[in-house]
């Protein structure tokens, strides 16, 4: 395909729209990090927050082995799990927002979306397409290497390309 035939090469609007999608996905994670509140993450006398949502994997099973894992591994060690979720989702918001190592974080977003989907897909009131669309957005971010458009990946890749350092080679692969 000639450069003229590729919208991302020839159209500033297309590149800007990819950046908009990346930043919107970042804000999805940023906003939803806000209700993962340490130190209990909702594991109280009246369960709430992340603990209540994670428990739905057991109450409304989607994939029985995953429900078993949540019931016997995740819920008994919930503080550790809560911190893990907070770190992963905060980092997803942070790195997708600035467009750094974007393809790596898109893969992490796919993994986290699958975990959420397996937890709540069958819960009452959930719109299953919410989770399918979340998955698709992260697949697109990975496919188009979205950080190269209006993100730090785009600014830094020329330097990583000429660098001999192992870190630069890794960053080339994950951006």
């Amino acid at each position: 395909m000639t450069p003229e035939g590729n919208p991302l090469d020839s159209s500033r609007l297309s590149r800007a729209l990819i950046a908009v999608v990346r930043v919107a996905a970042a804000f999805l994670w940023i906003q939803n990090a806000g209700w993962k509140i340490p130190p209990t993450f909702g594991k109280d006398a009246n369960p709430s927050g992340l603990f209540e949502w994670a428990s739905k994997a057991v109450k409304y099973p989607v994939f029985p082995p995953y429900s078993w894992l949540v019931e016997h591994v995740v819920l008994p060690h919930f503080t550790l799990f809560g911190w893990g979720v907070l770190v992963v989702e905060s980092s997803l918001g942070a790195f997708l927002l600035i467009g750094l190592a974007t393809r790596f974080w898109a893969l992490v977003g796919i993994g986290q979306t699958l975990a959420i989907t397996l937890s709540v897909l069958n819960a009452p009131g959930e719109w299953h397409w919410s989770y399918f669309l979340m998955l698709m957005v992260h697949l697109v971010l990975f496919a188009v290497a979205a950080g190269r458009y209006g993100g730090l990946d785009g600014v830094l890749r020329p330097r990583w390309q000429t660098s001999q350092s192992p870190l630069a080679r890794i960053l080339m692969r994950v951006s």
Partner: protein, 124 residues
Amino acid sequence: MNRHSGLDNAAVVLGAASVLSVVFAFAHGKFEFLRMHGGGIVVAVVLGVLACAAGWLANRMLALAAGAGFLLAALVLLVLIDQRGNGGFLDGNDSTFSLWLGLGVGLIVLGLTPRDPQDSTNGS
């Protein structure tokens, strides 16, 4: 004349994003993507302006200082949330932490990246 490199322009964008995040002080409900009140506004404006200055002046040390400031503010906020259940004097939440984490990492990466001579006509 191209005075600034792409790295410097990126620092300006990250700084401007921080200053613009103050708009969330006026947001409610579904559109309050993050909590921005009290001392958090001071952090967002002061460090955001510092990051803009770093880019405008093509000064890597200023970018590093702004980035370190954001990471420090993010860490203090997280400790406050963990210990008090709220953001204390920074009056933010985990969403604010996520934003500051991104701005901090981004500015530090920009500050640590050496400029090439061809980046800018006046160097940095």
